[in-house]
Structures are given as structure tokens and as C-alpha cells.
Symmetry: C2
């Protein structure tokens, strides 16, 4: 992709109405545009990141045995009345939509009220269980404050997985597998997430959140820096300085961003919709449920919050919008020829590149490369040529080096 | 994929509350589930079709030079007030959303009010033009009647493309290219769409619709069956029996489904948001716009309406949820072994297969294969083995044939 035609431009100045690091860097870098508080458009660079996060999640959900479906955002009132969640939590969470003849609908902020009646239609026997359904879909929340950029949107992208089981053992086994899949997803996305005990509601002692420590986090957790055992402050039995209950480490307090959560719903929703199955002995039994959420847009925001420096974003390779930023300097024929050769070789090898073909100063190009934050930068100039090839630098490192053109691919794959 | 674990089951009986062919077949086949009138969930089979349609569209939009972005469904009132479309058309088209302190938002049914101010932020010079932005995103319409299945949803998937130009010639050139890209998309999706002149609104003589002739269409067009020149009845200067103005054919009347439309907006929205650019001579000039829509969910519905027979759907190969339906009959070891070999060979070659491993009668399996409508059916049984291999049949053909196992891939690719 040529940067001169890429939609979206970088900006040196911070947007006036944003306080969060993620919104500031994502807007300045040309990744997103603010439509109103808590609602953003994704520009080409930002959408590429979001889609990469979604695809990592999709792969791990498929590997877990999940089947992808797609449920609607516009939802009837009736199933929400049936679970009691039309009024608790009410319109302070769920946006109301007014249809014809003042008929009310809701905008989905979660999908238990849709997925449970759906699963009920196809579950009759123990042979239909277990079942795991997931979707990647946009959700809505009537947030009171929406000052955290894409970390807390009034419209936001979610991957939600719902599992259905014949018994507690089966639910427990799947829950553990889902937890491992989640750890793998965050790892692949370049996030270090602590599995944090949180309130389990009426049916379980704990649910589990995946919390990424960062000064800009909205949550507060107590965690052991040695074994990483963690609890959300809301339920924590510990305070700073307490001994860790799992090892000889010490508990500390930290701010964190919740990037995912998993929850044993047990029969909370299957009771409400009377979802039963016939077991091996012909007896009717209640179906047990679990739910598992990750917000791809929030994951993207958390990556920006934790992977940046004074100059801009530092994208982990797996979610970077392009693999390499190629910066030609000068318009001499030898530069253009080398540029074409490098681009062709990399693209043929499946490396995606952003070529800064703009008429801009060296300083402006380098500053923008740091702001946009692709993992690697490759400078092609007559100066680099005179020194034997191209100048390469990793975004995380301070210094550049000159390598021969034929070594670029090897260097990139290192 | 094994059919025994695939979420969604076929049904022999038609849903009581559906009158459209597409909803009837898609629900019976386990592709979609109705949540309420005009709102559907996509089950795994249905979502695979939808995603294939989306990917065909995405490929052609990229080839056209479009850049993919993603704009929100939840939209502020202000830009809609600015264009006059908050009240005309008002809540009879755009769902109202109620937020905190009774603040009103709209649910997007189109995105000129979002994309125009967005483009304005990055267009200043003639060097920024032309520009083409598209998204694949879910839209909402407060439909009075929603009886047409996924052809006319209150929530529906859309690909909308917006183009921005420095002058009329450039808009005209891009419009013609977009028309060709659309023709290619429908062709790849197995739809024969007539380019149909329609009302151009205040700024153009005509816009163009892509209309697929079918008895269940909601639109009425007059068309020449010889050269395919067509006009929407709403503006038509012709009636049945008139001579075609383009050839010596005769105009006929037909019902049709509109699967896409393209429209020269000219300065309708750039005037409203004061979007100007500086031309080569330093003069401020208005930016011209075009918009181009295709609904992937409607395309999927139109395919079902036009590609079916008494037994079920007949998916065109490019959008079929799986390439082949493999039906093992009997549990003898030779059958299982051959099945495994065939599945492995096909999947290794990139052929996606649905294996009907259910304990069901031959009749039930064949009836479901016809209903689900994959392009090819491969039966593996001791009977087929005794005759020399496997029994293969195309969904569009009446008769099956026996071929050797080693010829299956060649037969499939024929």
C-alpha cells in the first residue's frame, strides 16, 4: 500500500476532546476517527488491526470446537422480560430503540437472551451436548461516561461464546479449556493478561477476568507479582503487602484493563427459558451454560495502552496493520529501482508493506513511522545504497543497521 | 465438518409465520433462525454463505481501488439534521435510539451523514482525489412490513461504497467502473442482474439498480428480453409490448429483486457539509460524490429465491457453505476407510466437505442433501464400492454416476 493514497493522515497534535492514550495515539496515527463520545469509525489502518485481532480470536475459538454464528443487535423485548433483565439492569445499560407504533426494542449488549432460546430449538437429547456457539459482532451499551477511547465504547466489537453442557463436570472441563484458549489469544495479541478471580454472581464462587496491568486501567486488582495469582478488588480478601495465598510472594495493588471474562452461568438462563435435555436414561435434565467474552476493539485499545512510547504505538507483529514500513528517500532512479525490488520480494513472500511514497521530509517520515508503529522500518536511499544496501530498524529498538538487499527477508523473519 | 455436530437441524415442515421462499428454505435447511419479523440469526451454514458473498464483494471493491473502513451503526442526530434527513425521511425509516437524559440517536440505514464529514477531514487538495471508501456493516430500517425473509430486514448486512471526485468526468469514469465491478460480483454470486434505470433524484437523470427477475420480486421493471435494457416501473416511459428503444426487441414487464444500486450524488452531501478541495490553480471547488450499495444478506436471499427447486436450495458453487456433501451409508469398515480417504484427499486439495455422519435413513439423508443444496453429493457405500467406487451427483442434475475414488477430485473440479 502506498501511503500517499492511504485514507487517513497522521496528526502532530492531540485531539482536544480525548483524555485516553489509546484514543490519542489511534486518532493521531490515522487508525480511527471519533464520531461522538464512545463511538468511532475505523479507518483502513485501524480496521486492519481490528480484523487481525478478530482472526486470531476466530482461529482459537474454532480450535476450541466453537461454531461461529451471527445474532442480531436489534432485539425483541420479550426474552429480556423473561430473564428480568429488561428492567435490571435497565435502560442505564441497554439502549432502547423505538419502532413503529412506539414498539420498544433493545440493542444487544450481550446475547444470552437470544442464544439460549436459539440453542433450545436444537437441543433435545444428551447427544446434542456439549455445544459451543460464538459470534463476532457489534454490541451497544448506554455508557454514562465514554472517555476511554475504544476501551469502553457505546458501540463496540465483541466476541461472545456460549457453551451448553449436560453436567457440571463437562462445563468445568470446557471452562478450563476456554481459559487456556483465552490465554493463548492474549499471548498471540502481545498482551500479558492475569487470570483474575472476580464475582461469580449467584451461581458460582468466582468468575474469571483477564486483566492487563497498566496505569490507565479502570479496574483495580490485587495480584501476586511472583505467581500472578490475582483477585479483583471488588471481591478481594487481600490488601497490599498480604502474603499470597498460593506462594510465598506478596500481594500488590494495580490498575488494570479487563480484556476478557469467562463465567459459569450454570442454569441462570436455561431455567428462564426452560432448556432441558433427555439424558441416557430418558430423564429430563436442565442444560448448564457458560459464557466467555473478549472485545476485539477493547483488546486493540489495551494493546495501544501497553505498547507505546513517547513517539507512538509499537504494534506486536501479529496485529500490526502492515509488517514493514518502507521509506524511500530521494527520487533517483537507483533508489526507485531498489525500492521496487524490495517491495516485490517482500510482497511475494507474503510480507505486507506500507510504502511512504509521500513528498515529505526525512524527519516527518521517520516521525510518522514511529507514530504508526509498524514492527519494522526499511529505509531505501542513495546513502543506504552507498553503504551497501538498505537501512533496517525494529520499532522496539533504538538503532538502525545497514544490510544487503538480499538479506532483508531473513532479517524480517528473525 | 460432521453433520452430527453441526449446529442447526433441517426441518421437513415450513415455518408457520414465513411467506417468503428464501425464509422458508433457509429456516428449513438450518441456515438462519427467525428472532422476530425482519430480524434473523445466522447459523453456521448460513453464516458461511454470507461470509462468502461478503468476500466476493470485498475482493471486487479492493480491485476497484476501494479502501475498507468501518463506520458505526449508532449515530448522532446532528449530521442528519444538517442534511435534513433526520425528519425526511424520519422515524418511519430511521430507528430512534434513546440514550441517557433522553438524548436521541439514530441507527444507521445509510452512511452519507457519517462518511462525508469523515472524508472532509482528510480532503483538502486535488491530490487527495479521487477517493473510494467502502464498508461491510450491519444497517437498520424501521420497515413497516418485514415479510420477505432476509430480502428486507429490519437489521441487514450492507456493503456501501462512497466515492469522492474532483469533477464530473472523474465521477462518470468511476461510476462506469463501479457498474462493471457490480456486474462481476453478481455474476460470481450466480445471479443474473439487469442494469435498470431508476430515479436519479434531484441531481441526475437516472440512477441504476441491479434487478434480478423472479416471480417473488417486490419491484416491477420493464425490460427488453433481447438486449436487457431495463427501466424501473416507477420512472418507466414504456409499457409491455413497446419496442425497445435500444434494439428491435420488445419491452416486457417483470417482477424483480433489487440486489444493488449505484447513484451519482454529485454535491447533495458535500454541499451540506461544505466539502471543498483546492484545485491545481489554487481555487476552492466542491467535491462530487457517488454511492454504491449491495446488501450481502439480500444477495443471499435473492440467490435462494432464484436457485431452488421443489427439493430445496441449489447453491452456486462460489457461495455454497461447503463444496461437497459426503454421505456414507452403512458402518462397514470398508465404507469407513473409503470415507476417510475421500475426505482427506478432498480437504487436502482445499475442497470443503460436509459429512453426513448422522444415524439416519438413506431417504432422510438424500432429502436433507437436496434441501441444504451443496453443489455436489458423494455417496460412499458398500454398494457403490461393489460397483467400482463412489456415487457422485451434481445438485443441478438428476442422475448419479459411479466413479473411481481416484477420479473424485477431477470430477469435482470439472
Amino acid at each position: 500500500m502506498n501511503q500517499s493514497t492511504l485514507f487517513g493522515k497522521t496528526s502532530k497534535t492531540s485531539p482536544k476532546d480525548e483524555v485516553s492514550t489509546n484514543a490519542n495515539l489511534l486518532i493521531r496515527g490515522g487508525f480511527v476517527d471519533k464520531v461522538m463520545a464512545g463511538v468511532y469509525s475505523y479507518l483502513p489502518l485501524g480496521l486492519r488491526v481490528l480484523q487481525k485481532v478478530q482472526n486470531i480470536i476466530r482461529e482459537e475459538m474454532n480450535a476450541l470446537g466453537g461454531q461461529e454464528i451471527l445474532m442480531p443487535a436489534l432485539q425483541p423485548k420479550e426474552p429480556w422480560m423473561q430473564t428480568g433483565r429488561w428492567s435490571d439492569p435497565g435502560p442505564e445499560v441497554m439502549f432502547r430503540v423505538i419502532g413503529r407504533e412506539d414498539k420498544e426494542f433493545g440493542l444487544g449488549w450481550t446475547h444470552e437472551e437470544i442464544v439460549t432460546p436459539l440453542a433450545k430449538k436444537f437441543i433435545s437429547s444428551y447427544k446434542d451436548l456439549p455445544l459451543a456457539l460464538f459470534q463476532i459482532q457489534d454490541k451497544f451499551r448506554n455508557e454514562p461516561r465514554a472517555k476511554s477511547g475504544i476501551l469502553r465504547g457505546r458501540e463496540f466489537n465483541m466476541k461472545d461464546l456460549y457453551s451448553f453442557h449436560a453436567n457440571q463436570d463437562d462445563l468445568n472441563t470446557f471452562y478450563d479449556q476456554a481459559q487456556k484458549a483465552y490465554a493463548k489469544i492474549f499471548d498471540r495479541c502481545g498482551l500479558h493478561a492475569l487470570v483474575t478471580e472476580s464475582s461469580g454472581g449467584a451461581f458460582s464462587k468466582y468468575s474469571h477476568e483477564f486483566q492487563v496491568l497498566t496505569e490507565n486501567g479502570e479496574d483495580i486488582i490485587f495480584y501476586c507479582s511472583k505467581c500472578e495469582y490475582a483477585q479483583n478488588r471488588e471481591i478481594s480478601e487481600y490488601k497490599t503487602g498480604d502474603q499470597c495465598p498460593k506462594c510465598n510472594g506478596v500481594m500488590a495493588e494495580g490498575k488494570a484493563i479487563e480484556v476478557g471474562n469467562i463465567f459459569k452461568l450454570k442454569t441462570r438462563f436455561t431455567d428462564a427459558f426452560d432448556v432441558k435435555f433427555t439424558d441416557e436414561n430418558g430423564k429430563q435434565q436442565p442444560v448448564l451454560m457458560g459464557c466467555y467474552g473478549i472485545g476485539p476493539s477493547r483488546v486493540m485499545g489495551a494493546i495501544v495502552e501497553t505498547c507505546n512510547d513517547g513517539a507512538g504505538i509499537i504494534w506486536p507483529a501479529a496485529v500490526a496493520p502492515y509488517d514493514a514500513h518502507i521509506i524511500p528517500l530521494g527520487e533517483e532512479e537507483i533508489v526507485t529501482e531498489l525500492l521496487d525490488e524490495v517491495v516485490e520480494e517482500l510482497e511475494d513472500a507474503g510480507v505486507s508493506v506500507l510504502v511512504d511514497d509521500r513528498a515529505a521530509t526525512v524527519g516527518a517520515k521517520f516521525a510518522d513511522a514511529d507514530l504508526i508503529g509498524l514492527p519494522t522500518r526499511i529505509v531505501v536511499s542513495s546513502k543506504s545504497l552507498s553503504k551497501g544496501g538498505v537501512e533496517v530498524k525494529r520499532r522496539r529498538e533504538q538503532t538502525a543497521e545497514i544490510i544487503s538487499k538480499k538479506d532483508v527477508l531473513t532479517w524480517l523473519q528473525k
